[in-house]
Amino acid sequence: MPLTDEQVSIAVSEAKFALSESDLAELKVDLNKIIESIEVLNEFDLSGVEPTYHPLADLQNVMREDVIQPSMPQSVALANAATHEDGQFKVPTILVDGGGDQ
């Protein structure tokens, strides 16, 4: 099923992008070509077939011993952040429309 303008807009917004109208239109054309190419998935009788989510079918719940490991120093962990303050990552206002602290 080809994507509608609305479906493209929702996916773009959910994926946290802000695209212009022309970029959205171009993206819709490309996405619909790709969707058309993956329709072959619907040509197979898959009733009763269990999905496989990774290639090591027997592997699940890999655990390690609960012991403290060396970790990255705070200054190193912060070094790539655009802004930080008092040893913490700094972000702009989280809530908008007057709903939160500035």
Binding site: V12, I38, L41, F44, L46, P51, P55
Partner: protein, 512 residues
């Protein structure tokens, strides 16, 4: 020194180690020769995004000091299996203190705070780190054309793409800039560029090589693997990096050494081929002729060729372009402009920060795949594509398991065609089709290798055969590849960088 610059690209890993042991050259001289070649040749090939001379020279000096402590003719025990081997790494692998850009504006300024286990293992084994190599942005692509730093050029024909996404890793080896490199393969990103550049490219079985520190986009598909100019060199690098790592939950304990399987021959081995895959529309005639000739050579060596079926292979591309984007959407959501990555300074709230930074930081192909993945995972759609793609994965895995009950290895073309020209393929679906022979192997989790088998009789460009092994029985791949490689005699270094550029005059210029 001048001789070493000229000869160094021709040296195998074994010859480098023999030369070091015999004191014919030092590791420092090797590093200097490699760096000088990069300075001379890479402005044309454009495979490196960052060159790390200090790291290479420091590593080399350490090796030379160790060597000085033992008598001539031998290497000290602390010298690892890659001692003195000039290597370079795809720029989505972290190496402490270097930029790790993923060829994206998103990570243009990012400096690695730690080192990927795969790189670390090569350094422990003694490799000399020359630098970081170009790729398609975040490994989304098959040509390196989506790198924000501009494309890498194919050393065999500078007007053509080197393949992708690990195009820089393939081109650097073909141009004799590094003896071996590391790349990553989610749907063919090692094997397809290796094929385009005429070098050996090997994607290990899922779980053999740690992905810790590799910035991948498809955790159920990704593997790290080597590029080299010979099967023996690829085996040596594989043995150094295929080690258990608790930091990668998929990491497997494997004790097999690929270097033990290089001289066993293929007499009596059962080698499967898929007649249906040789009939695909996109497969060029020269590629088919070369592949059929390679199969004849295997038969002449005593292997038994067995026609097999992989009935669900035709759904593999669709499964890949569903699972890949879905996982990419999830993986790349970590780029929130807070902890690292490109950040728009003037955002007034957090949502604006996310949206502006991600829209500016990611290129069109990355945005396309992330949005596609978001859509494919949405309520009401997930059952229609993503769930079915993973059901198809069950069937593709079963096809391989069935096939490997009657054969020890499978051969297919590595790519439908030889390297294409820049800008020749612009439609995303057509670009995706260039991965048709490689993606089923990632879906199933098996290992696969591109082995150069000469040149197309029409295009004159490098052509490869793909050799696939049973899951986690990758020694079969090396056994077949080493035997087949022996039957060919052709130059592995691209001639234009081998002959025309390395003139005495340019050497003097470079040395000054």
């Amino acid at each position: 020194m001048n001789n070493l610059i000229h000869d160094y690209p021709k040296l195998s890993i074994a010859e480098i180690q023999a030369g070091l042991a015999a004191r014919e050259f030092s590791a420092t001289e090797l590093a200097e020769a490699a760096l000088m070649r990069i300075a001379q040749i890479d402005p044309l090939v454009k495979s490196f995004l960052e060159i790390t001379p200090d790291l290479a020279i420091t590593a080399a000096q350490g090796i030379d000091q160790a060597i000085a402590s033992v008598s001539a003719g031998s290497l000290p025990e602390e010298c690892g299996t890659l001692a003195g081997v000039p290597m370079a790494y795809k720029d989505n692998l972290n190496l402490t203190g270097t930029h790790t850009t993923c060829a994206s504006k998103m990570l243009e300024s990012y400096i690695s705070p730690y080192t990927a286990t795969s790189i670390s293992n090569t350094l422990i084994a003694g490799a000399l780190p020359l630098g970081k190599l170009n790729l398609d942005e975040f490994a989304f692509g098959s040509s390196t054309e989506t790198s924000i730093f501009g494309p890498t050029h194919n050393p065999w024909d500078l007007e053509r793409v080197p393949g992708g996404s690990s195009g820089g890793s393939a081109a650097a080896v073909a141009a004799g800039l590094a003896t071996a490199t590391l790349g990553g393969d989610t749907g063919g990103s090692i094997r397809q560029p290796a094929s385009f550049c005429g070098v050996v490219g090997y994607k290990p079985s899922y779980g053999m090589v740690s992905r810790h520190g590799a910035i991948g986009f498809g955790p159920s598909l990704d593997q790290v693997g080597p590029f080299a100019r010979s099967v023996a060199d690829a085996a040596a690098v594989t043995d150094a990096i295929a080690l258990y790592d608790p930091a990668d939950t998929a990491s497997q304990h494997t004790s097999v050494k690929m270097t033990d399987y290089l001289t066993l021959g293929v007499k009596g081995m059962r080698i499967g081929y898929v007649p249906e895959l040789l009939e695909l529309d996109g497969l060029t005639a020269e590629m088919r002729r070369a592949d059929e000739d390679a199969m004849q050579r295997l038969q002449d060596l005593g292997a038994v060729l067995i026609p097999i079926e992989l009935p669900h292979a035709r759904a593999a591309l669709a499964a890949y372009y569903t699972i890949g984007p879905a996982e990419a959407f999830s993986c790349l959501s970590r780029f929130d402009a807070v902890r690292y990555g490109y950040a728009e300074r003037n955002a007034s709230n957090l949502t604006e920060l996310y949206e502006r930074s991600r829209t500016q930081g990611f290129g069109p192909e990355a945005i396309r795949r992330i949005v596609l993945g978001c859509y494919l995972l949405s309520a009401g759609v997930i059952d229609q594509y993503y769930y079915k793609a993973n059901q198809i994965r069950t069937l593709i895995r079963a096809d391989y398991q069935q096939a490997f009950t009657i054969c020890d290895a499978i051969v297919t073309p590595a790519s439908p065609r030889a390297a294409f020209r820049f800008g020749e393929i612009t439609d995303p679906v057509s670009m995706h089709a260039s991965d048709i022979y490689t993606v089923p192997v990632n879906i199933a989790g098996n290992g696969g290798m591109s082995l150069p088998i000469g040149f197309g009789d029409k295009t004159g460009l490098p052509i490869s055969l793909q050799i696939i092994g049973p899951q986690l029985v990758d020694q079969n791949i090396f056994q077949v590849a080493a035997a087949l490689e022996e039957t060919y005699d052709f130059e592995r270094l691209a001639p234009m960088v081998l002959e025309e550029l390395i003139t005495p005059m340019s050497l003097e210029g470079g040395a000054a």
